[in-house]
């Protein structure tokens, strides 16, 4: 990169500066929220908190951690995420493997039919009635089974399986290995990065379950974290506006921010692992045939 004109150098600098500023707007809101959640109420009401806690305290968290309904929702989330990811991985991997095999005769129409569902979402009311007719309404399964397979994740896995060398599989089959054994003992061990990507995608989707909960869940003891959190934030049930007394080490603002941080921590915790894989996964998913 020699002989660059002054204009190009200036453009390059402003590009770097603009990108850095934009990247900061991606995390500054989170930092502001975290700072408020660890600050004393007087500092928050006096607008003294920006990106660093003022008069550091953990009282908001202590109060929240004593709420049993929040823990209950956390439990619902853990169950939905673990059971859901297991269910999704099982069905997705098996279907993706079949669709990756050239001897599976109906693979072309099936793949087309699946891509169709990527473009057109299921219509809300008939979807709701289907779940109702299946007897899933207001059960924890309504947050798991209807989101079972993501067409996008399925295509990622299928593309990955196709890219694997076919020779080992053929050799194994000549030695009397069944399709299932070939998948289990040969294909899956070779596909760990793709499986990790898809598994993490599923886990994050289940952790963030909201649409299916709003649509299908009525009883508050089945509320997942996102719905419970919304109850706290918009305070429809007056859970936290009742505690707006002076002298307490927390107020509705600090509590709301603490709830947000509480629900985000698991995502931030898996983010480094996610990031290791997802760029590659995204690129696989977009390979056109």
């Amino acid at each position: 990169m020699k002989n660059r004109s002054i204009g190009e150098i200036a453009a390059s600098y402003s590009n770097h500066i603009l990108l850095t500023l934009a990247a900061f707007t991606m995390i500054l809101p989170f930092i502001n929220v975290i700072a408020i959640s660890f600050s004393m109420p007087w500092a928050v009401s006096a607008n003294k908190v920006t990106f660093w806690p003022v008069d550091f305290t953990m009282e908001s968290y202590k109060y929240l951690l004593s709420k049993s309904d929040l823990w209950r929702s956390m439990g619902v989330n853990v169950f939905v995420t673990v059971a859901g990811t297991a269910f999704s991985m099982l069905t997705t991997v098996m279907l993706a493997y079949s669709l990756s095999r050239p001897e599976f005769m109906i693979r072309k129409p099936v793949v087309l039919g699946i891509i169709f569902t990527m473009i057109f979402q299921p219509p809300m009311i008939p979807y709701f009635l289907t779940i109702k007719n299946l007897g899933l309404l207001d059960t924890v399964w309504a947050m798991i089974i209807p989101s079972g397979i993501s067409a996008f994740n399925l295509i990622i896995l299928r593309t990955f399986f196709i890219q694997l060398s076919n020779e080992i599989q053929e050799a194994a089959k000549i030695d009397g290995c069944s399709d299932f054994r070939a998948m289990w003992n040969i294909v899956l061990p070779l596909s760990k990065p793709a499986l990790a990507t898809v598994g993490l995608f599923y886990a994050v989707t289940y952790w963030n379950v909201f649409y299916h909960a709003v649509l299908f869940i009525r009883s508050s003891d089945l509320y997942p974290l996102q719905v419970k959190m919304r109850e706290y934030i918009s305070d429809t049930e007056n859970i936290i506006s009742g505690i707006n007394k002076t002298g307490l080490p927390y107020n509705p603002d600090t509590l709301k921010m603490a709830v947000l941080v509480f629900a985000t921590i698991p995502i931030i915790a898996v983010y480094p692992f996610l990031q290791k894989y997802f760029v590659h996964g995204m690129t696989l998913g977009s390979v056109k045939e």
Binding site: N15, H16, M94, L95, D179, Y211
Partner: protein, 318 residues
């Protein structure tokens, strides 16, 4: 005449032999079919049955009679939709927000990808990407909570505004700001994630093209317009077509989280209307008609967009 008869019989025979071949194929590779079965059943039950269930748009659907015994009423619900003024307003909100999302939201990731592509230092690029991808994984409920806080009267935006001598504004409660906030926040959340595909396409461009252009004395700008953008065009067109097919799908979660009674007049969209009138109030047939109308618009737009794209750029989905 005789030729057409032979083609028909030939076709019938090949159809027959196809079923026979399928039968053989199923017997030989029954394990593959057994493994695919749960997934196929799932797609049928949770993605195709609901589409068929849309027939209740032409019925006075009663939950106790079900689809089979509810009376048929033709286009009654569709006539109602287009004469009911509230719904016209809802449709207008949906179209406007969709249009803004398309105009401002669609180019944003392309621009970001082009900017990131110019960063030469690997570690710097990677750190930027780490930050840009993060919001994609955070749910709209959390993002909504954060935005409500940032834009509240004692939120950081108003604090800064006051320091520069401005008057504090209740952004989330003012109808005039609602659509801008929706569009900006969804760009903010998804711009990094959507840029991934363009970044991948950019790495696929042959570097010798740039070298040749530099030798020929083409500047950065000329390289952008003559090499980079034409190479990105297929990706851009495919994603644009997919976006157009989803034109009226704004994402229920975001709007549902952002809506307050004060912003209903500008923010109530088809999805939130269908949820309220259908799921909560039980007007199943009318809201299904709304949903069917939405799908038809999406399908028509996809078809037209695909046609235009094929004629003008040669790129098409089908």
């Amino acid at each position: 005449m005789s030729t057409s008869i032979t083609t028909v019989t030939a076709r019938a025979e090949s159809g027959l032999s196809w079923t026979i071949r399928l039968g053989k194929n199923m017997r030989k590779h029954w394990i593959l079919y057994a493994m695919a079965f749960p997934g196929l059943l799932w797609f049928l039950l949770f993605r195709y049955v609901p589409v068929l269930g849309s027939v209740i748009a032409f019925q006075d659907f009663q939950i106790f009679n079900g689809i089979w015994d509810s009376p048929w009423v033709g286009f009654k619900h569709f006539e109602y939709i287009f004469t009911y003024s509230n719904l016209v307003n809802v449709l207008r909100n949906t179209l406007l927000i969709s249009l803004y999302q398309l105009i401002f939201g669609f180019p944003a990731p392309v621009i970001l990808a082009l900017m990131l592509n110019e960063v030469r230092k690997k570690w710097f690029k990677r750190s930027l990407q780490t930050l840009f991808y993060l919001p994609h994984f955070i749910s709209w409920v959390i993002i909504g909570g954060i935005i409500f806080e940032l834009l509240s009267l004692d939120g950081i935006v108003n604090v800064l505004l006051q320091q520069f001598g401005g008057e504090p504004i209740l952004y989330m409660q003012k109808p005039e700001y609602f659509r801008s906030i929706v569009v900006l926040s969804s760009i903010w959340k998804e711009v990094g994630w959507s840029a991934i595909i363009y970044l991948a396409a950019l790495t696929g461009i042959n570097p010798s093209l740039y070298e040749a252009a530099t030798v020929d004395g083409a500047g950065k700008w000329r390289q952008l317009t003559s090499i980079t953008l034409p190479s990105l065009l297929p990706t851009i067109m495919i994603l644009l077509l997919l976006r157009i097919g989803n034109f009226l799908e704004l994402g229920f979660e975001q709007i549902y989280v952002f809506l307050t009674p004060l912003t209903f007049s500008v923010g109530d969209i088809l999805d939130t209307y269908v949820f309220r009138a259908g799921v909560l109030e039980g007007n199943y047939s009318v809201t299904t008609a709304v949903g069917l109308f939405k799908s038809l618009v999406g399908f028509a737009m996809l078809w037209v967009g695909n046609y235009i794209s094929r004629k003008s750029t040669g790129e098409s989905l089908f």
